[in-house]
Symmetry: C2
Subunit: 247 residues, 2 copies
DNA sequence: GGCAAAGCAAGAGCACTGCTCTCGTTTTTG
DNA sequence: CAAAAACGAGAGCAGTGCTCTTGCTTTGCC
């Protein structure tokens, strides 16, 4: 199928494509997506700007490629954090993954902004980004699955009106998990990126000082919200989440 | 002080300044911040582009003005939602404010992106935006204050390591509220914008369908997290450690 | 009043952008 | 080997933010 070989030209093509992405990623990391310039990339690579259009038909297509790579990079970071916390309890592993995601975001602010900030072009990310985007979220779902099959998972409260939606979401995302857990998990996942975004985009300036501690506490509460429970102890501030619920 | 008067020229200046902002806001709402063009604004107003620089020294300054207006508009929406829910319990009022914020965001997506999306220029929003940004958050704090002085407010758990930070935050934001509540509230506020951002920026596409219901449930849980309790459920079980009976 | 100073609008121009089109050249393919 | 496809480079178009200069109008001061 000519994944390699097939002439020297095909090889050169993927090499040049990679070089373009590399240089573009460098500019993205340094200046942000808004400042990323096709001409500057071409200039740095010593080629005419028009030649670049043989590889990416438009600036948005280049950005889309970078978006996919960023999702992938984030997903890898999440998986690494999970694997590094393989032998601790689900709550700590959840916290580790959240901190891994946050760490990646702090280390790659412009790439984070590219995927979770304002959509750059005329919206509508292409279909191809969907699987890449799911990768990090799948890590979180995996933790819940482990807990569900292992030590246990509390079922978060779920109002009746949300039940059909939760069932649908569970069928799509994790058929083996209780719908309550899946629905709550999706919300918690979004909330996680609220915390990260606020920190990264300056909303915590002059408000939150000790951000590491603050974040760890917040995602700890989030862990409780999604139903993760401490296997043994509870001396640290653990409860407070959704326990009773009447209205 | 001469807020008005002082010559016909001064009056013309504030009129033109307003017209520029108005046209800029229109373009912002239609095309987004990236597409906002000084030249297009000037063109639409029938003036030379260079003349516009007498009123806003740079594009970023225009954007900053729009940012402040957007914060203000959001704050007004939050206050309106609060006032419309003046005669219900704190949880419902909290939910109403959250839904008000979300409603504003859905109705003004580009303005929302301007203030809570990727920072446009070289970061560092000017000092002047801070009070405007605080306005909506103050509404949320006010609800907690009412609950604290009224029916009651559960103290969320707070690990010892976060206590100093929570005390500092409470001193800055709401000295009359327990530090646990303030710290948790700040986190919850950030998480709220995670939910909104995910919906607005397409992260919920093909994942969450019934978004109204989903959102209402999520902010209901958030209300519980910050310590708001349902009035008919009676007082909190234990002052130091919250209920969590059924886990 | 008169008059200098300050504020203002307009135009030209600079350096930059994304993108298109054309024109030779090189490589691949039938 | 020749036709076809891919490629690189250059010129060019329409657009951008921003600056500078040149006249004109409105202020504020004596």
């Amino acid at each position: 199928m000519s994944s390699t070989a097939h002439g020297a030209r095909a090889r050169a093509r993927i090499e040049i494509t990679a070089a373009i992405k590399e240089e573009a990623r460098r500019q993205l990391a340094k200046e942000g997506a808004v400042k990323l310039s096709l001409r500057a990339v071409a200039r740095e690579l010593g080629m005419a700007s028009s030649a670049l259009y043989r590889y990416f038909p438009s600036r948005d297509d280049l950005l889309t490629a970078l978006i996919i790579d960023a999702y992938d990079s984030l997903g890898a970071a999440a998986e690494a954090a999970r694997d590094a916390a393989a032998d601790v309890g689900p709550v700590r592993r959840w916290t580790a993954v959240c901190e891994g995601v946050r760490g990646w975001a702090l280390g790659h602010p412009h790439e984070y902004a590219l995927i979770y900030g304002t959509p750059v072009p005329g919206y509508t990310a292409p279909e191809t980004t969907v699987p890449a985007a799911a990768r990090s979220a799948l890590v979180a779902i995996g933790i819940l699955r482990d807990a569900h099959q292992g030590l246990g998972l509390a079922k978060p409260p779920l109002p009746a009106e949300l039940r059909p939606e939760a069932v649908r979401m569970a069928a799509d995302l994790a058929p083996d998990l209780p719908p309550e857990v899946v629905a709550t998990m999706v919300a918690a996942w979004a909330q996680l990126f609220g915390l990260i975004g606020f920190e990264l985009f300056g909303q915590f300036n002059r408000v939150v000082e000790d951000r590491d501690t603050f974040f760890r506490h917040a995602v700890g509460q989030l862990a409780h919200t999604v139903g993760l429970v401490y296997p043994q102890q509870g001396p640290v501030a653990t409860p407070g989440g959704p326990a009773a619920e009447s209205s």
